[in-house]
C-alpha cells in the first residue's frame, strides 16, 4: 500500500519561513540590546524570542497557505455498500441531551440508503448518571424502534479512558462493521455529512481516517460566542492550510471523524507508556498518536475541511477552557515520549512536536518577559566616557527604531492572518453568511481585542500547567461541565489569584528595575491584574446576538433544530438549548 505523496516543496517553505522569521526577530533584538551592552539575559531573551516568533509565524504560514479557497467537492451519489457504526462515548454526561442527539441523527438517517448503526459506549460511574442513562436509553430505544441497530454498553472500569472505551468496542464488535464514525457526547452531524464521509471512505480504499472540521455551536456567554465566532470564521482557512500540507499524515482531533475498522484495529492498539503519569501510563491525547500510527502503517489520514454539517460545543468560560487546556497540555507534553517512536512519518513527528511547542510557546513568552526585565536590572550603567582623555561624551546609538520594528513585526504576525482572512471572506462572499460585512469586521475587531486581553491570562495558566506537568503532577481527567458558564467575581478570583499576584509582582519589578520597559509590559500586566474581572465578565451571557454572529447561530442547522425539538419533548421544556447541564435524570428514574 502506497500512501499519498507529500507536498515536499510547500512543506519546506512552510517550515523554513517561520525559522527565518524567528532568526530575524532575534537578530533585531540583539542589535537593539547591544546599544546598551549585551548581557547574558539579552542572549536568553533572544533565544526565547526566536522560538516564540517562529511559532507565531507558523500560524501565519498556515493561514497564508489556506487563504485561497478549494472548490467544494460535490456530494457523491455512489451506492453505499459497507456497514457503519456511529460511536458515542459518554462519561458522566447529561444523558437526556446526549441521547436526544442520537435520536436526532437516527431519525435523520432513517431512510438513508446505508446500514448505519449507533452504539452508546458508556464509561459513566456516577450513580445518577448511570441511572439517567438507563432511563433515557429506554426512551430512546422505544422512540426510535432501534432494536438491532442501536446499542448501549457500560464498562465498570474505564481502563484507557476514551481511547480504551473505543478500543473495547473494536475488540468486541469491530468485525461487524466496515467503518466507524467516532463522535463526542456533544457532537452532532448532519446525515448528508455522515453519508458523504462513508462514500469518500469507500471511494478511496487507502483512506484510513477522514476528519471533518467541527463547528462550535450553542455558545451563549461572551467568551463562548467570541470563541465560536473565531472558530467558525478563521478555522476553515487554517484547516485548509493544514490540509494542503498533510499529504497522507493528516490530523485526528478525537471526534467527528470516520475510521476504517480494519485499519484502526490493526494499527491503533495503544500501549501504556512505561513509567508513572504524567509522562507514563495511558496516552492521554490519544488522537494525534492514533493518526500517526495509522500513517505509519501506510494508511492515509486526512482532514477534509469542505465537509460541512459537523458540530460540537465549546467551553463557555475561560476557567472551563483553562481546565480543558490543562488536560491537553499534559497530553501533548506526554507526546515527548512518543515523538521518537520507530517508524513514524516525519510529518507525524513534526505534528506532535508542534503540539508540544503550542503548550511551551506561552512559557517562552513568559520567559522572554522575565529575561527582558532581568536584562534591564543587570545592565551596567552607561559609560559616556570610555576613554578617560576624551572631551565629548559618547552616547549609545539609538536603536529604538529597531525595537519598534520588532514590535510591529510581531503584532503583524498576529494580526495579518486575521486581516487577510477578513479580506478573503469579503472577496469570496463567505462573509455574507455571517451578516453584514460591517458586522463581521466589528466582530473581528472585538475578537482581536478580547483575545489580546485573554492571551496574558492564558499565558499564565499554560505556564502553570507546563510547570505542574514537569514537576510530575498528574492533572487527571476531570469531567467536562458542558453548558455551565456564569462565574461570580469571587469564583473567578479563586481560580486566578495567582495570576493577579504575578501581574502585581511584574508591575513592581518592571517599575523598580526597568521603568523604560513599563509601557511595553503594561498590555501584558494589566489583563493579568484584572484577570478575575475579565474571567467573570466574559462568563456572562452575551447581551448582543449580532456581535460574534455565525451562520449556524443565525439559521439553526436542521440537525440542531431536530435535537432541540426532541429534547424539548422529552424534558417538557420549551427551550431545549438551555438544558444541557445536570444529569438530566428525572426524579423517578
Amino acid at each position: 500500500m502506497t500512501a499519498t505523496r507529500p507536498p515536499v516543496l510547500l512543506r519546506t517553505v512552510a517550515v523554513l519561513v517561520p525559522l527565518v522569521a524567528g532568526g530575524g526577530a532575534a537578530a533585531l533584538f540583539i542589535q537593539y540590546s547591544s546599544a546598551a551592552g549585551l548581557t547574558a539575559w539579552a542572549w536568553v531573551s533572544a533565544a526565547l524570542l526566536t522560538l516564540s516568533t517562529a511559532w507565531l509565524a507558523w500560524g501565519a504560514m498556515l493561514a497564508l497557505i489556506g487563504l485561497w479557497p478549494t472548490p467544494r467537492v460535490p456530494p457523491s451519489a455512489a451506492p453505499v455498500r459497507g456497514r457503519t457504526c456511529v460511536l458515542v462515548p459518554v462519561c458522566n454526561e447529561d444523558p437526556a441531551s446526549t441521547f436526544a442527539r442520537v435520536a436526532a441523527m437516527m431519525a435523520a438517517l432513517r431512510d438513508a440508503p446505508a446500514t448505519i448503526h449507533f452504539a452508546i459506549l458508556s464509561d459513566s460511574s456516577r450513580p445518577e448518571a448511570v441511572a439517567g442513562e438507563a432511563f433515557w436509553f429506554t426512551r430512546l430505544m422505544a422512540e426510535t424502534g432501534g432494536e438491532g441497530r442501536l446499542f448501549y454498553r457500560r464498562r465498570d472500569r474505564n481502563t484507557g479512558r476514551k481511547a480504551g472505551n473505543i478500543a473495547d468496542f473494536f475488540r468486541r464488535s469491530g468485525a461487524a462493521y466496515d467503518h466507524a464514525v467516532i463522535l463526542d457526547a456533544d457532537s452532532l452531524m448532519e446525515p448528508g455529512t455522515i453519508l458523504e464521509m462513508i462514500r469518500r471512505m469507500e471511494a478511496e480504499p487507502r483512506l484510513g481516517l477522514l476528519q471533518t472540521l467541527p463547528v462550535i455551536v450553542r455558545a451563549g456567554s461572551v467568551f463562548g460566542r467570541a470563541m465560536q465566532f473565531a472558530a467558525a470564521f478563521y478555522s476553515p482557512v487554517f484547516a485548509r492550510g493544514l490540509a494542503r500540507l498533510q499529504g497522507g499524515a493528516g490530523p485526528f482531533w478525537g471526534h467527528n471523524a470516520i475510521v476504517r475498522t480494519r485499519a484502526w484495529a490493526e494499527s491503533c492498539g495503544l500501549p501504556e507508556l512505561p513509567g508513572k503519569p504524567p509522562f507514563g501510563g495511558h496516552i492521554l491525547s490519544h488522537d494525534i498518536v492514533e493518526a500517526a500510527m495509522l500513517a505509519r502503517a501506510g494508511w492515509d489520514v486526512r482532514v477534509d475541511p469542505d465537509l460541512g454539517g459537523s458540530y460540537e460545543e465549546g467551553p463557555e468560560s475561560l476557567i472551563e477552557y483553562a481546565k480543558r487546556d490543562r488536560r491537553w497540555c499534559q497530553g501533548n507534553l506526554q507526546h515527548s515520549r512518543v515523538v521518537t517512536a520507530a517508524g513514524l512519518l516525519g510529518w507525524s513527528r513534526l505534528s506532535m512536536a508542534l503540539g508540544i511547542v503550542s503548550y511551551i510557546a506561552p512559557v517562552f513568552w513568559a520567559g522572554f518577559l522575565v529575561a527582558a526585565v532581568a536584562d534591564r536590572a543587570t545592565l551596567p550603567p552607561p559609560d559616556y566616557f570610555p576613554d578617560p582623555h576624551q572631551f565629548f561624551p559618547v552616547f549609545p546609538s539609538d536603536e529604538t527604531a529597531k525595537a519598534i520594528g520588532l514590535f510591529l513585526g510581531i503584532i503583524g504576525l498576529l494580526v495579518m492572518p486575521k486581516l487577510l482572512i477578513l479580506i478573503e471572506a469579503w472577496a469570496t462572499g463567505r462573509a455574507r453568511s455571517y451578516g453584514s460585512m460591517a458586522g463581521v469586521a466589528l466582530s473581528g475587531l472585538f475578537d482581536l481585542l478580547l483575545s489580546s486581553l485573554i492571551a496574558p491570562v492564558m499565558m499564565a495558566y499554560q505556564t502553570r500547567s507546563v510547570i505542574q506537568v514537569l514537576r510530575g503532577a498528574d492533572g487527571g481527567w476531570p469531567p467536562n461541565r458542558r453548558g455551565e458558564a456564569r462565574l461570580t467575581l469571587g469564583e473567578a478570583f479563586e481560580a486566578s489569584h495567582f495570576i493577579v499576584a504575578l501581574g502585581l509582582a511584574g508591575l513592581f519589578a518592571a517599575g523598580h528595575w526597568g521603568a523604560g520597559l513599563l509601557p511595553w509590559l503594561l498590555p501584558v500586566l494589566l489583563p493579568m491584574i484584572l484577570a478575575p474581572v475579565l474571567i467573570a465578565w466574559t462568563s456572562r451571557p452575551a447581551a448582543s446576538r449580532a456581535l460574534f454572529a455565525t451562520p449556524e447561530g443565525r439559521s439553526l442547522p436542521p440537525i440542531l433544530a431536530a435535537h432541540d425539538a426532541i429534547l424539548a419533548r422529552w424534558t417538557g421544556m420549551s427551550d431545549a438549548a438551555g438544558t444541557t447541564s445536570g444529569s438530566g435524570t428525572p426524579a423517578h428514574a
Binding site: F135, R171, S173, A176
Partner: protein, 61 residues
C-alpha cells in the same frame, strides 16, 4: 389499591422496561483483533550498529 401501590407498580414496570431495553441493546458479538502497537523510541545509531554487527555475526563459526 393505594396510590403508593400504584407508584410502586409503575416503578417496577419502568425497571422491567429498562432492563428489557438494555438487554436487547448489547453490542454485536463480532470480535476483531486489535494488537497492541509498539512505540519504543528509535535509536539514532541503531541502524548503523545493526550494519556493523551484521558482518561480525556472519563471521562467527
Amino acid at each position: 389499591m393505594t396510590p403508593s401501590d400504584l407508584s410502586g407498580t409503575a416503578a417496577f414496570e419502568g425497571a422491567i422496561a429498562t432492563a428489557t431495553a438494555l438487554a436487547a441493546a448489547s453490542l454485536p458479538d463480532a470480535p476483531l483483533a486489535m494488537p497492541e502497537q509498539r512505540l519504543e523510541p528509535v535509536h539514532p545509531f541503531g541502524a548503523l550498529r545493526a550494519l556493523l554487527a551484521a558482518p561480525r555475526r556472519r563471521a562467527e563459526p
